[in-house]
Structures are given as C-alpha cells and as structure tokens.
C-alpha cells in the first residue's frame, strides 16, 4: 500500500448562500491512499459539504488560498471532470440518484456521460452489475427494487467508471440493517478488488468504528483526526459533541467506573470479549 495522500485539502472554507455561518471553516486534512476513512459529526457539522467540495459540486469561498488535490491533481474548473472520473459518490437517498429507467440504464449513465462507445458499455455494464450481485435484476425498473438494491446499483454505476475513491454520503442511513450490512460488505470487497480509497460519512457509529481513520467534525471545523480506537476511546469528547459512542466503548467505560482495570490494548468488541473471558478464568 502506497503511503501517499490521495486527497489533500488545505485551508478550505465554504458558506452556503443566504447563511452567515460558514458550513466549512478553514479545514485542512489529508487522506491516505487505499484507506477507509469515516467522517462523523452531528447534522449540520459540514460532513456532506466537505465531500461536495472534493469533487467540485461546490466551490470554496476562498479559491485563492484554498487548495483541494485529488490523486495529485489540483481541483480547478478545467480538472473538475477529470476529478469526477476519480471520485464516485453514493448519496443518501436511494431513489434520488437513480437516473436510468432500468438497472442497466442507470449503471450505463456515467459511461454515457463520458462518451464511452456502446460496444465497451455492453461489456462493462454487465460486469459492474455482476460485481454487486444484481445480475438477476438487470432489466428491472427502480420501482421494483428495495432501497438496498438501489444503493447496490449506485455502487455498480460508480464501479463502472473505475474510480480511485468511493464516497458513501450516509449511503446506508435509509436502509434496514440487512441492507446496510450488505452494502458495507460490497464496498469492502470492492475496496479490495479495485484498490479503492473509501470515505464514508455516517451516523452509524459501529460502521465508523470499522474504519482505518476517523475524522470528527463539528460546526464546520475538524475537531479530531485519528485511528478509530484513538477517536472512540475519547468518550467524553464524543458525548460532548452529541455523538454516539460505540457499544463496546460504552461497556468499557462502565466497567472502568466499576473499578475493573481494562488495559489500553483492548480496542474492539472482540478484544473486549476475549479480555472479559480471560478475566473470568483468572478469578
């Protein structure tokens, strides 16, 4: 895994029209190639805004001082289409991003936009549909699909354009637990297979705790950036920001309060279970 940064964001600020308060307040961070990064924060903390800045859907307030670099390419008016070839976003609402009349049409949409010849599309589209396990639904209309299936189609549409980065913008928040797990599984597999960098914006703390790196945002500012265990062990901070704490961290906290000494090396549910079992044995 190359350790270079695929996304470099420097000093970016953004304010929505008709509001005074900036949605993004001079943020800088980097994301390493091939990692899974979760961005967490409560509603209105600027999570979705920052990713819309990354692929040029929004333009920073301070274009002269700010800089956004994706895969070594600086985001400008000229490079924005190039960068959109490198970044695929799965949005929150499954229905509102399904453009095509059928699954195959929708997967082809991104290819059509890029002027890919039809003969190539005929090869790429079924492959992408197969990659997300939707082959049986190739000619289905969106109305006959579940939310999770629509999100799988959205992923197929992104895989079809062979991006470097896939961004999940609360892509699982409207799904049932089963649909959510399926989507995460698929993204994990895609990440391996296509060597992708994943950024996932999420409210689901258990989803976030699976990430290599977690970014915490609040009121347009980057509060904390670190590995998931670094972030989630700061339960006080998370609570202060109105965020959930992963279940095992809650248990760990409670146990510590009860006077049970849990070493710092315990950083996941599994490790905690192991530790507790051993504790039981040693008594």
């Amino acid at each position: 895994m190359a350790a270079d940064s695929i996304i470099k964001i420097k000093n970016v600020a953004f304010t929505y029209q008709d509001t005074k308060k900036p949605a993004i307040d001079h943020i800088s961070f980097e994301i390493k190639r091939g990692t899974w990064t979760s961005i967490i924060g409560h509603n209105g903390s600027g999570k979705s805004t920052i990713i819309r800045l990354i692929n040029g859907l929004l333009v920073p307030d301070n274009p002269d001082e700010a800089s956004i670099e994706v895969d070594g390419e600086k985001l400008t008016d000229d490079s924005v289409w190039d960068i959109r070839n490198k970044v695929g976003i799965v949005f929150q609402n499954p229905d509102n991003q399904f453009v095509g009349a059928t699954v195959a049409d929708d997967v082809a949409f991104g290819l059509e936009n890029r002027g890919v010849p039809r003969e190539k599309m005929l090869k790429i589209v079924p492959e992408a549909i197969n990659a997300v396990g939707m082959t049986d639904y190739t000619d289905s209309e969106p109305a006959s699909l579940s939310g999770g299936q629509k999100q799988r189609v959205a992923i197929a549409g992104i895989i079809a354009i062979k991006p470097q980065i896939i961004i999940l913008d609360e892509a699982t928040s409207m799904l049932d637990p089963e649909g959510r797990n399926k989507i995460l599984q698929i993204v994990h597999r895609m990440k391996q297979e296509y060597d992708l960098t994943v950024i996932s914006i999420t409210h689901d703390i258990d989803e976030a705790s699976l990430a290599d790196q977690v970014i915490v945002m609040n009121d347009g500012k980057l509060i904390e950036q670190g590995t998931s265990s670094e972030i989630f062990s700061q339960t006080e901070l998370l609570k202060k920001l109105g965020l959930d704490v992963p279940f095992f961290e809650q248990i760990k906290d409670e146990l510590l309060e009860q006077g049970i000494n849990i070493p710092d090396t315990v950083n996941s549910e599994k490790e905690l279970i192991n530790f507790l079992c051993q504790l039981n044995l040693s008594k």
């Binding site: 819309r52 692929n55 859907l57 289409w81 959109r84 070839n85 970044v87 695929g88 976003i89 949005f91 609402n93 229905d95 509102n96 991003q97 399904f98 453009v99 095509g100 009349a101 059928t102 195959a104 049409d105 082809a108 949409f109 991104g110 290819l111 059509e112 936009n113 890029r114 002027g115 890919v116 010849p117 039809r118 599309m121 005929l122 589209v125 209309e141 969106p142 109305a143 006959s144 549409g157 992104i158 354009i161």
Partner: protein, 265 residues
Amino acid sequence: MSKILIGRYVPGNSLVYKMDPRGKLLATIFFILIIFLANNPLTYAIVTIFSFIAVAATRLRPKVFWDGVKPLVWLIFFTSLLQLFFTVGGKVYWQWTIFAVTSYGIENAIYIFIRFTVIILISTVMTVTTMPLEIADAMEWLLTPLKLIKVPVDKIALVMSIALRFVPTLFDETVKIMNAQRSRGADFNNGGLITRAKAITPLLIPLFINSLETAVDLSTAMESRGYRDDNGRTRYRILRWSKFDLLDLGYFAILIALLLIFRTH
C-alpha cells in the same frame, strides 16, 4: 396497487411485441391519418377488419382493449348521436323541430362510430404492447430532425425518460403522504367538491416540496456522475429495426393501397 404499470403496458410476447417501437408509433400515426381516406361502406369495412386483425395479433384478452375504449364510450356515443340527429340530406325517416334522422345521418353516425373505435383500438395496440420508455425513445427518434433547428432533442429525451422513471416514485410518495395525513384524521373521500379539493391541499404541498428536493438531489447526483451540458454523450440503449418491422409497416401500406383503390372518388 400495481405501481410498476405506468401507462397501460401489458406484458406479452406475441409478434407485435417484437416490433420496433418506432415502427409501431409511425404506423399508429399513419393509421390515424389514413383513416380519413375511408369514405364508403367498403373502405370502412376494410379499416374495421384491418384493425381487428391488428388487435388479434397482440394475442391479448379482449378486456385489455375494452378497458382502452371504456373511458371514451360516452364521447363516442355522444358524437355519433350528434351526427345522427343533425346531419341533413338523403331520405328523411323522422323529424321533430330541429332534430331529424336522415339516411346521411345514419351513415355518418356509423362512420364516426367506426372511426373513433378503430383509432382507439389501434392506439391501444401500441400502448399495451410498447413500454412507455420505448415510446419515449421512439418519440425521440421522430423528433431527431428537429436537431437541425437546434432543438435539444437529447435533453428532451432524457427529461422524458427521467419523468417516466419518477412516476412510480411520486406515486409511492403520494400514498405515503396520504396515509400520514389520514392517520391524523384527514378525509379524502367524503364531502362535496370544495371540501375534497381542500382536503387535497395538505397532500399536494408536501408532495410538491418533496419533488423539488428530489429534483435538487437528482441534479447533484447527475452532476457528480459526470453529466455535463454538452452533446458528447453516447447511448447504451438503442433501438434496432428487425424483419418484424416490415410486418406492421407493410400491413399499413397495404391498408393505404386498399383504401386508395376502393374509396369513392
């Protein structure tokens, strides 16, 4: 509720289904035009027979076609009756003030009746055997010449296809909002016209706001998926002519020929 059915498409696999939507659309339009060539009993009989053969070729239950005609039954009867009572000329059978039943009147009433019915039958043949999306594609093809005068045909086609795709989504949304309002005591089914119209307002406003939100979301998604405002797009779905299309087009060409030969000059 069958939410997948937009329009009146009925799945099937007879010959008519294998025909290209462009051919079917053209044939339907031609049919509606050439029906005016018929002007005597023989030509009307030919038109009727041809229409019923087309209906039979779909191999669908007659009820499908009856459903097509049903909403217009009163219009057909009313127009026929007007023809019957107000056409003057020929032999007078019955007269009362301004109403008269004449031989011309009877003839015209029958013609109008046939004309209406077969036009509905033939357009039903097209709409039940062709998916709305295919019809939209066919219409795009028909509009292609307008590109010469800078009409953005591609964009119109994309708009049409997105509109069709969102019909069931909006329908679902409507049902959801309706149930939400019902659970709060809204009543959509009782009261006079004005009461009902008022009851619709709390349904329309959320629906309207939702559609705007959907439109904003969709445009963001489209942009992020690389949709740009120029003509470099390629097409995944294309229409292909096949030998089956000679059938419907040939069929209607024969009809034109017969009508031209047998009409009263």
